[in-house]
C-alpha cells in the first residue's frame, strides 16, 4: 500500500470519528450489505463508514460492492480494498445483473453518474443506468429472502429547477418539460422513484428514497464539473479562481463523512415509503464560496468572474432537511468552512 493511501485511510478515519454517534447498530451485525455504484464518491464513503464500523465497533458485516469499474476507487482508497476479507467486489453493469447473493439484507442503490458531462454526451446510457438499472435491481431484490431495507439514492433534481429563495422540501415539486433533452437525468430519477413506489406497494419491499443535493470532500474527482471542484482545482494549482456568471447562484455543500453517516441512519432508521432530502441547508453563493476557498488557500489568489457580461439567471439548489432531522435527530458535524478546509487538505496531500 502506498504512503499516500495510508494517509488517506487515517484522514478519513479521523473524519468518521467525528460523525459516528452512538446508535443501535445491532440490526447490522451478522448481516450483508450491498452497495451499487460502490466505486463513486458516495459508494467509497459508505464503504469507508462500514469498514470503520467493522473495525471500531467490531461489527460482523459482509459488504458486497457492485460497480462497473473500480479503477478510480482502488487507486484513491487502496487501503479499503487490499486484503479486506469483509469485502466482495462484483464488477458488473447494474443493468446486467440477474441475481443477488441471497444473504443480502440491506441495499444502498447508488448506481448512476451525477456527472452532467455524461448526461449530455451519453444521455441514453445515463438514463438507462438509472431506469433499467433500478428495475433490474428491484426485481432481484424482490427475490431476496431476508431483505430488511433498501435505500434508493435519487436526486435533489427530481424537484425541477428552483429559482425562489425558499429551501427545497420533500414536497417542493415543479414541473419540467420532458421534451427538453437536458432534463433526461431528472426524469430518469423520478421514474426510478416511481418504480420503487410500485415495488414497495406490490412486493412490500422496505424502500426509502434519498434525494441528495451537493457534496464536497475526499474521493470527489477534482475535475468533476461542479463549481466547488473547479474552484478547489484552481486553488490547488495556484491559478486564479474562475466563476461562471456573476456568482449569485446559490448552492450548499455537505461534507462526505456527514453524508455517509446520514445515509446509514436513513437506511436503518428511516421509515419505509418516505423520501428524505440529504444535504446542507445552509446556503452560500458561488461568489462567497470562491472567497472562502481563496482565504483558506492562504495565498493571494485572484477571483475572476467569467467577464461578468451576463447577469446569471436565478439558480438555487439548497435542501430543507427538517424531516430527517426531526425523525432521526441528525446533525451535521462539518460546517462549510471545515468541509472546505478538510477537502483542500486532502487534495494538497494527494498532490504531494
Amino acid at each position: 500500500m502506498s504512503k499516500v493511501n495510508m494517509i488517506h485511510g487515517a484522514f478519513v478515519e479521523g473524519d468518521l470519528n467525528r460523525v459516528v454517534m452512538p446508535i443501535d447498530l445491532s440490526q447490522l451485525n451478522n448481516s450483508c450489505v450491498l452497495i451499487t455504484g460502490a466505486s463513486g464518491f458516495m459508494g467509497i464513503w459508505l464503504t469507508e463508514l462500514f469498514n470503520y464500523l467493522i473495525k471500531m465497533q467490531k461489527l460482523n458485516l459482509k459488504l458486497v460492492l457492485l460497480a462497473r469499474d473500480f479503477t478510480f476507487a482502488k487507486r484513491e482508497a487502496q487501503h479499503l480494498y487490499e486484503q479486506n476479507k469483509n469485502i466482495n467486489i462484483i464488477c458488473d453493469d447494474i443493468r446486467s445483473i440477474h441475481e443477488l447473493p441471497e444473504d443480502v439484507e440491506w441495499i444502498i442503490h447508488a448506481a448512476a453518474s451525477p456527472d452532467l458531462r455524461v448526461h449530455n454526451s451519453q444521455p441514453i446510457f445515463a438514463s438507462q443506468t438509472i431506469t433499467q438499472g433500478t428495475l433490474t435491481l428491484l426485481e432481484c431484490a424482490a427475490r431476496l429472502p431476508k431483505l430488511k431495507g433498501l435505500l434508493n439514492i435519487s436526486s435533489g433534481y427530481v424537484y425541477g429547477y428552483h429559482t425562489t429563495k425558499e429551501l427545497i422540501t420533500e414536497k417542493s415539486f415543479d414541473g419540467f418539460d420532458p421534451s427538453i433533452f437536458s432534463v433526461a437525468y431528472m426524469e430518469a430519477k423520478r421514474y426510478a422513484e416511481s418504480l420503487c413506489t410500485l415495488f414497495r406497494n406490490q412486493f412490500r419491499l422496505p424502500i426509502i428514497n434519498v434525494r441528495p443535493f451537493s457534496f464536497v470532500g475526499p474521493y470527489q474527482s477534482v475535475d468533476a464539473p461542479w463549481a466547488v471542484n473547479n474552484f478547489i482545482n484552481d486553488m490547488v494549482n495556484n491559478q486564479s479562481i474562475r466563476i461562471q456568471g456573476d456568482g449569485t447562484a446559490v448552492r450548499s455543500y455537505m461534507y462526505g463523512a456527514d453524508m455517509a453517516w446520514w445515509l446509514l441512519n436513513m437506511l436503518l432508521r428511516g421509515e419505509s415509503g418516505r423520501s428524505y432530502n440529504l444535504g446542507n441547508p445552509k446556503a452560500i453563493t458561488l461568489k462567497e464560496l470562491a472567497e472562502k476557498i481563496m482565504h483558506l488557500s492562504g495565498n493571494e489568489i485572484e477571483i475572476n468572474h467569467s467577464r461578468a457580461l451576463l447577469k446569471s439567471k436565478p439558480s438555487i439548489f439548497v435542501p430543507s432537511v427538517d424531516l430527517a432531522q426531526a425523525e432521526m435527530g441528525l446533525r451535521m458535524q462539518f460546517d462549510i468552512d471545515e468541509a472546505l478546509s478538510r477537502t483542500i487538505q486532502w487534495y494538497k496531500q494527494a498532490l504531494v
Binding site: R117, N120, R242, Q244, S306, R307, L309, L310, S312
Partner: protein
C-alpha cells in the same frame, strides 16, 4: 438610450479566419504587425492560427506557411493587454499534440468548435482546458444547418462540459437578421452562460446580423479587420465598432486605433480585399461554408464547370467544413451529367 451601459466582448479572428483568404499563408511578421495594432486598439481577444484552427494544416484543407507554435509565439510576444485566443476543431487538434502546445505558449482563450450538431466531441477538449484554469468557449459552426431547438441542445452540452460561453457561427453567411434573432434568442433564454455570434458577409448581412444578435441578447461578437476572412469575408471589425459606438454599445475598443488596425491589415495582410462575389452570394444562398469559395473556383475551372452549379449541388448534399474532398466528387458527377 436603450443601449446605454450595454457591453459586448469583441473577438477578432483576423489572424485566423483571414488565413482562409490567403490560403493559410500568413507569416510571423504579418501576425506581429497586426497583433501590435489590435493590442493598441484595445481589442479584447484576437484569434491566431490556421483558418480551420490549431493542428489543421494539412493537404486536405491547406498547409500553413507558418507552423502553429511560431504563429502563436509571434502573437504572444506582441500582445500586452489583448488576450491571445485560438480556434480548435477536435479531430484536427488533439489534446496531447496541440492543446498542450497552446497551454505552454500561454494562450488565454480557447474556442472549441464543432459542426453545429456534434457538440459531443468537444467534451474532452473543453474539460481539459477548464482543468487548466483557462478561458474556454464552445463554438457551433454552420449553425444555419440546425434548428434553434437543436442548437439549444448542442449548446447545453457545451455548457455542461464547462464552456464559459457559446458562439454560433454563420459560417456560410446564410442568415438574415430574423434567423439570427430566433436562434440567439432561444440560446439566451435557455443557457446560463454568455452567447455569441460570428458572422460572414455572403449576403451583405454581417453587420445587420451582428446587431440582431446583440438585440437578441448576444454579448460576444466576432469581427475581422476589413472583413478579412473566408469567402465574402467576415463582419468588418472597424465598421462593427463604429456601429456599436453609434448604438451606445460599449466595446472598450478605441475607434481611431481600430481604424488604424484595419489599415495595417489592408497594407500588410490582405492580398485581395473581400468582396461579395457572385460565387460568394451563391455560397450564402446554398448554405455552404464560405471557405469553399477558393477550392470551388479552382476545381470549377479545372473541370470547366460553373462554380455556382457546384455550390448548389454541395448545398443539396449538406456538406460541412472539412469535407472539401466532396468538391471533386460533385464536379465529377456534374461533368458526367453534361
Amino acid at each position: 438610450m436603450q443601449n446605454q451601459g450595454r457591453r459586448v466582448l469583441i473577438c477578432d479572428p483576423t489572424l485566423r479566419d483571414g488565413n482562409h483568404a490567403v490560403r493559410h499563408q500568413l507569416t510571423c511578421e504579418q501576425i506581429t504587425k497586426y497583433a501590435v495594432a489590435a493590442n493598441a486598439a484595445g481589442v479584447p481577444v484576437i484569434e491566431v492560427g490556421h483558418g480551420n484552427g490549431l493542428g489543421a494544416s494539412s493537404l486536405q484543407v491547406g498547409l500553413s506557411k507558418t507552423d502553429d507554435k511560431s504563429a502563436l509565439e509571434a502573437a504572444r510576444k506582441a500582445l500586452t493587454t489583448t488576450k491571445l485566443g485560438i480556434h480548435i476543431i477536435p479531430g484536427f487538434a488533439t489534446i496531447k499534440k496541440d492543446l498542450r502546445l497552446a497551454l505552454d505558449v500561454g494562450v488565454d482563450v480557447f474556442r472549441i468548435a464543432t459542426h453545429c450538431t456534434e457538440a459531443d466531441i468537444t467534451e474532452r477538449h473543453i474539460s481539459h482546458i477548464r482543468g487548466h484554469g483557462r478561458e474556454v468557449y464552445g463554438v457551433l459552426m454552420m449553425s444555419h444547418m440546425a434548428s434553434e431547438a437543436v442548437l439549444v441542445e448542442e449548446a447545453s452540452k457545451m455548457q455542461a462540459y464547462g464552456a464559459e460561453g457559446v458562439v454560433i457561427m454563420d459560417s456560410a453567411g446564410a442568415y438574415l437578421p430574423s434567423d439570427v434573432t430566433v436562434r440567439i434568442g432561444a440560446l439566451v433564454n435557455t443557457l446560463g452562460i454568455p452567447v455569441g455570434f460570428h458572422g460572414h458577409n455572403n449576403l451583405g448581412m454581417a453587420i445587420a446580423n451582428s446587431i440582431a444578435a446583440v438585440n437578441a441578447g448576444a454579448v460576444i461578437i466576432d469581427g475581422t479587420a476589413r472583413g478579412f476572412g473566408a469567402g465574402a469575408g467576415n463582419t468588418q471589425l472597424e465598421a462593427l465598432v463604429a456601429v456599436f459606438d453609434k448604438l451606445k454599445i460599449q466595446t472598450g475598443i478605441d475607434l481611431y486605433k481600430v481604424l488604424d488596425a484595419g489599415d495595417v491589415a489592408e497594407k500588410y495582410l490582405i492580398e485581395t480585399l473581400p468582396t461579395i462575389s457572385s460565387v460568394s452570394i451563391v455560397s450564402g444562398l446554398s448554405g455552404v461554408f464560405s471557405g469553399y469559395v477558393k477550392p470551388v473556383n479552382r476545381i470549377a475551372s479545372e473541370y470547366k464547370l460553373d462554380p455556382r452549379d457546384i455550390f448548389f449541388e454541395l448545398g443539396r448534399r449538406k456538406v460541412v467544413a472539412g469535407q472539401e474532398d466532396m468538391i471533386i466528387e460533385v464536379a465529377t458527377d456534374l461533368s458526367k451529367r453534361g
